[in-house]
Assembly symmetry: D3
Homo-oligomer: 232 residues x 6
């Protein structure tokens, strides 16, 4: 089985990070291929970055299809252009927000999300509502850090994320925390240990859910809105 | 006041049509400029087309800003990349689905939507739910016509749209109908006459609502998620 | 075009204020006529006042119809008897809560509302939910001032409203604020300047939206629940 | 205990009917007093009638209070001005729609409502949503009869209501039916027998629920929005 | 009329308490029989206790049926196995959470719930959402006391509950409070006096609502999901 | 990794069937153990059966824990007592309805569910709403077959299920179908081939999702409502 993890921004270190996260959990027979949306913004911070990355992301989806991908993971918590990816993919396509919050809803009665910048909060709130889990999501929180600060060695970002998780547990009464950025995937274990709460990384669970869907014989439905794009 | 109507697909005849529709209702002191998202798909039929058109649409938004637009109308019923447009615009930005259904909710206790292709139905349903009007929307219907068929002189598309509206009135018990495609804007008056129900064209009402917001001294909020994109 | 702004309470100074607010934004060809619901309570503070004002308000709607109104604005944030007004009006009828929150949803991803008395909070919450925008409304707040205190020259009400808006920005993380009382319409510009957030006056936007609907050729649907009242 | 049943329209025969329905189920120690909103429309068919009846209804509520009412039932399925009644009442106030649908939700997993005229359908749908039971309400149906036709001896209205109930069972798969008009209260038993489904009359259950609330020592909360109207 | 109040846990003192609460409000012609689910957990604190008590509770329902119960009240705020009880009962079956929150919604525009342990909070939140009243429920709060502490004479539990109610009034702005445990039923009057807010005991209102449904001639619908269990 | 699939009814042939389904998709390193809730009803058809099976199911969960289960799948589409199972399990616990509908939402914009008996329809509707996917679920349908008929060789049940799926595609416009009973798991492939739509078996996807959660290092959160049951 071949899973392609696409980083929809153009920062190679993030691609490396999410590829490592995916490989760490993938089954023995699963090949993980990481791809970078070259030409996309260096990070996805808001609606504009999300819209601009779409064409680059979709080019990588098409490349992944050509390369025989069995499923595709889009490694950005804004779940950019997921519907579009599904139209041109044959296997399942998973965004990491969708995977993260659905996983959370399977192991806890409530969860909070900790993301990077405040401007992403309403975007994530809208996604959670679209996925139908707003009644279980206590709060979407921001650790007030730019996405790329997560890539800087020696920065204090992991402490900021941890502190926000501790506030989530204390103030929101949540039973699990979903990390609201692909760039946090390398912090998952450390954050779980430090906070004592299940900390969910979307890249990890999206990889495993994609594997699960493929293993179940399921692919994207092609009889409706996810059919191949119409010829003009 | 200068309003820019952007057709996010690359079909010039649709740009002409929506520009005419906007001009027909714009105030005396309002200049309407139509712009085409050259390079975008010839029509927006599904998630993929919508995602692909985004960069082209946003380039036109930036051009409109440079040209001094007071507000921007995005003339496609899938409301593509509206949040992204709002980040880079200073004035208000309106999609025609949002404008259309909000107008409908002001003049009727319920409405149905008639769009072109079945594959657009779930996209529009998701938009209506996002705008909070799913409880007033009786049904999203498709007249089963490709978008570009609306551009072909002599086609029977207007009859197909009329017949679907008549079915909506009869089967859904709706009190108004919103046209679910910018390419139907030239049919509005004829459809109203033929069906006896208020028929709402999103291009028309988006133009007038944009004018209304500007006239109210309102612009897109820049203190949160619609702030200018972050520098990287 | 003739727009009639009806103050559903009996306080002439409020009628004057909302008429001024409407005239300030109305188009050149638009005549604004203010009308007072003589006999109604001096202010609408709760369900009882709202119910009692209805007959007086409806009498003014009928007078406005006779006088050739193209559209009607009901200038009270509780949107009293709007459905009833729509039954006897031919043109569009807009309440200022509906107009205010729908305008807010077009320029911001979230908003809070600042009204006068705590007892109006659940009434407004119910309206916002009815309009389908509860997921975007961060909080309905009260500045704890009686409606008529807004009419007293020299009172500190404008400071109280400003302070509540500042708390809304700080505590709610909202991106826009809707003024929850027609009597605040003269404060809009000052509040915007003082707080740095888009401040939305329902009278202003209802006037412009009414103009927009008429300009779009739309009138209240008469084929269903808004048909003329049944003869007995 | 004294319960006052107020018919918010001016048709005495309907007052008599609902008073009989209430007396038929009231406890031994319960006095039922029927009151008519003289001056109100002869029937409540739509938003306008509902708004116009309010002042007359509220006058009767005040009279009932003076007469020592322990609780008040408003016998119209549009639940007119219930919040206003609650502000000036000391005991509980119940509308028959609220009582009817809440009773239905206690004995069945789903229900449909059969009302008189099509124009009442969206009004009732909005009420059911406000009461939070739209997910259990299969459909609001109209038997297409004017309210006052229910008062005409020898009319075929009972057959029309029965037939609509049979369609509800067949087409909606509902497990109970709520009668959507106070004027149907005398048909309840017959309709239950004829259709084999629990048929719920709002007047009956509102009377018993009002008795239940008073018997529980509960009265309308006076610490918030249902406090006595403000002095001006 | 015979009403059977079943305590679904095995603590006799709680059965006695809820039986006293029911008798205190039952009509003269109403016989109240208390039953204990011997073999069930000593208290219901969470999903496991709730699931385990079910068989014991259902055995008591069957016994109550045999003994001629006209209606059944299940005296635990988690409303355990209510659907199952309804399948084997002929008369109405009411849980005290459902009765409590529906009563609250009839006398106040909003309410909060005060329960015992934090672990019950998400269970009650899910119930309130299932009953459709989450939009009126300000908050579900825990007084952080084990259920059986309510049975210990001389404990400070009543003070803890009172203090949590006072916080609910202050912080939530609620207009009524529902007691979130059957074991609090003896505190209702004292808590109302101490806090000045309507305090609603589910046992009390469930008893009266059950009486009301029976008095209205209503029984559990047997034409759908509440039909007698299928023979195997 | 050891996954335990518990059939909460007492029919061994169903346990065998679901164990086979799970083994068919489990990873190489995954041991599947099937367990039967001996003493439970022979099939789960409604609320009563569901409540009665709980204690037997929980006994098997405890046995599975003792035997070192890494995760547990409850193989009944009513998702009986899942919260209770989660309290006493250390690893993840998945019901097949939850897994089935969440899988459907990842590969299609809408789905319908085909279950056995009409009486299960409202139970499943309530589950889907609790999982937050009612806006994507077109309809819950019944093939009108008793659960155990699925176990009878030579019965026409597979044809009945296929025909209902074909009706779902035609009438509901759904893009995927979820099988609403564990006893249908052996029909999945055949039904997919016959109908041309993705057919989702909850047992299959629950097995793979459980594997995925364990593989992601996730377990049931123990800091809140899913903590171990309280000692009494």
């Amino acid at each position: 089985m071949k899973l392609v993890v696409i980083n929809p921004n153009s920062t190679q270190s993030m691609t490396d990070k999410v590829t490592i996260a995916a490989r760490a959990v993938a089954g023995d027979a699963v090949e993980i291929e990481g791809r970078t949306a070259h030409g996309a913004p260096a990070s996805i911070e808001g609606h504009f970055d999300e819209a601009i990355c779409a064409a680059h992301l979709l080019r990588e989806v098409q490349a992944a299809e050509t390369a025989g991908a069995d499923a595709i993971i889009v490694a950005c918590f804004d779940d950019p252009a997921i519907g579009a990816c599904r139209e041109i993919a044959t296997g399942p396509v998973l965004g990491i927000c969708e995977a993260g919050v659905k996983a959370a809803s399977m192991i806890a009665t409530s969860f909070s999300i900790v993301t990077t910048l405040p401007r992403s909060v309403p975007i994530i709130e809208a996604l959670v509502r679209q996925y139908g889990l707003d009644h279980l999501c206590r709060r979407v929180r921001s650790a007030e850090i730019p996405v790329l600060a997560l890539e800087e060695p020696g920065s204090n970002t992991r402490q900021l994320v941890r502190d926000e998780i501790l506030r989530a547990i204390d103030e929101d009464g949540c039973e699990a925390v979903v990390l609201g950025c692909a760039g946090m995937s390398d912090l998952t274990e450390w954050l779980s240990r430090e906070t004592g709460v299940p900390v969910i990384d979307g890249v990890t669970v999206a990889t495993k859910f994609a594997e699960a869907l493929v293993g179940s014989g399921l692919a994207t439905s092609k009889i409706g809105a996810y059919a191949l794009p119409n010829e003009k």
